[in-house]
Amino acid sequence: MESLQLSALDLRLGLMAVVLAVMAATFHVLTGNFLTPENLYNIAQQTAVVGIVATAISLVIVARHIDLSVGSVVGFVGVLIAYLQYTAGWHWATACLAGLAAAILAGMYQGGLTAYLGVPSFVVTLGGLMSFRGAAFLVANGKTQPVTDPVFLWFGGGLDGALGIAGSWTLAAVLAALLCWRIVQARRAKAKHGFPLRPLAADIAFTLGLLALLAAFTAAMCAYQLPGKSAGQGIPAPVVIWGTVVLAVAFIVRRTRFGRYVYAIGGNPEAARLVGIPVRRVTLQLFLLLSVTITIAAIVSVSRLNAGTNSMGTGMELYVIAAAVIGGVSLSGGSGTVLGSVLGALIIQFLDSGLLLLDVGIGQRMIIIGQVLIVAVAFDVLYRRWTGERLA
């Protein structure tokens, strides 16, 4: 383990990937149709909206804050975007920009109260949970706002909302090349600075594993053919959008000062202040980042439903927070990864979808998912104790 340079974090992500694989295999054995292109395609699409917001809320929780209002803001922004297109007749792009502006304002209000006035984010966003749901109703007086623009509908997947076979494999090839280049680059840089290298075989095995996963996923998406269409769908647009958000947020975490400061604030807010980090500004920016992902999620959501409704995103905050927490984000702050939020969101969706295929009723499903959340956090506590992160 020493020579492989595996950290407790890598182990944990690996473990979650194993859990995901075991769940998939179990459900497939029990139902016979879990690991089919159709089911995987639907799961990937359904997870995207929660997954997009989960990336940013992970960072919010890492910085010892919370946002309970995300579902309501998604509803509010979503209805606004749909309303501007349907009732006000705006172009979809300007409507989306207006939605982004609204989300940014909401983020400045809630983030500002939290960062500059010191009102606990739990309280601010609990109020927001109510208020923004009300605002979502007021935008269109509770009326459903259908959207029809074909370009806008691409974002939500649906009939033509996918990359197609050629597009999917092109994207997969680009990603594969990028991945290999990154790993070679990292090895070179390490060697140049005289740092110890991971054994070459380990790096190759790791890379090949990821490439195989990428190829399998692309193949599955391309194998899914909608009735009445001549070719396979390929990677659905919401997944492409989710993937882009994940890469962007992961870049922010690993390569920018802002990302590091978020973790420093979560680890020790007083120390962050003493070393000169502008804690308030970083906190506000964090809420604005969340606003951006909320807008993206709202766009995908409206597009998926072909309409904006005032109930859109109801209860979503719970799924988003659960995804982050199952993905290993500690509610006491300072630790958690973006990739973890992806796996967390997938675990919830796997469970939901697998139980649905098993004909388990909605009541039982909710009970099970709720308890799985507790199991995940209990595991988290024990794991951190075992790795020495927590003493008692």
């Binding site: 140049k192 690993r254 400061y261 979560g266 680890g267 007083e270 202040r273 000169g276």
Partner: protein
């Protein structure tokens, strides 16, 4: 006319609510000088130093660096003036590794304005090696490090960023004999380089081994400022406990010659 002192604290005040934590404090520090700041818990010494470090806003008073009045509104201002602070709590983010903590708030960037992890790690290795050649696990979260290693990380900030003025708040409080010696060596090295050091300590051997002068505080005021060599440990302890200045020897407001002869602090 003598040269201006490196640091001059003039008429400093600080109140928390109705409590006067620091009142009318004057203190000077020269380049290459170690001034110990002593007193009971709650005497105001940490508060005074935190104002210099930018951690607390200054209610009233003036800070001059080499004669120029400076404004310190936050820790970044203080750092920009060449003031480094080793806080009693060490100010480490426990979840980040030693390299990240060394550069926290002042990361090295690539030309793409992204963090340059390799450059930071390479530089960190050099600094840590100067202080403790056995310090290898620099990529582990600092929570898993020993007390001495954590101290190394905090001290290395002062070393790497070339402090001109160093504030050390209880630097040896949690250290073993070997690590204490490391801190002593470091203070002497920095002193030889012309760094001015404010040392807060409860430990008389530390104070007498390292400081040129000492200032004793009680209830937010300076009781007296003396050349350390002029006093005995008992006299210093007497001042800390009793709050009465020693009159056997003259006070020394500066090492060379006093620029502030009229400022004779008297207890209320």
């Amino acid at each position: 006319m003598t040269a201006s002192p490196l640091v001059e604290i003039i008429g400093m005040h600080k109140a928390f609510g109705g409590v006067q934590a620091v009142s009318d404090v004057n203190l000077a520090l020269d380049a290459g000088e170690v001034v110990a700041v002593l007193g009971h818990n709650g005497a105001g010494k940490s508060t005074l130093m935190k104002m210099l470090a930018g951690a607390y806003p200054i209610d009233r008073g003036e800070i001059r660096i080499v004669g120029d009045v400076v404004h310190i509104a936050n820790p970044a201002d203080s750092q920009a003036l060449g003031i480094e602070t080793i806080h009693q709590t060490l100010a480490l983010a426990d979840n980040l590794d030693a390299v990240a903590n060394l550069f926290l708030g002042r990361e090295l960037m690539t030309r793409w304005n992204t963090m340059d992890d390799y450059a930071m790690e390479a530089a960190a290795r050099k600094v840590f090696a100067q202080l403790n050649p056995n310090f290898r696990n620099i990529r582990e979260p600092v929570r898993s490090l020993s007390g001495g290693q954590r101290q190394v990380v905090a001290i290395s900030r002062a070393l790497y960023f070339n402090a001109r003025i160093l504030i050390m708040d209880e630097p040896c409080a949690a250290l073993g004999p070997e690590e204490t010696r490391m801190v002593h060596d470091l203070v002497r090295r920095l002193k030889a380089r012309g760094v001015g050091v404010f040392l807060i300590s409860h430990d008389m051997p530390d104070v007498f081994a390292l400081s040129d002068r000492l200032a004793v505080m009680k209830n937010g005021r300076v009781i007296g400022t003396y050349r350390t060599a002029d006093l005995t440990e008992d006299e210093v302890l007497g001042m800390i406990i009793g709050g009465k200045p020693v009159t056997r020897v003259a006070q020394q407001h500066r090492t060379l010659s006093s620029r502030l002869p009229s400022l004779q602090e008297t207890p209320p």
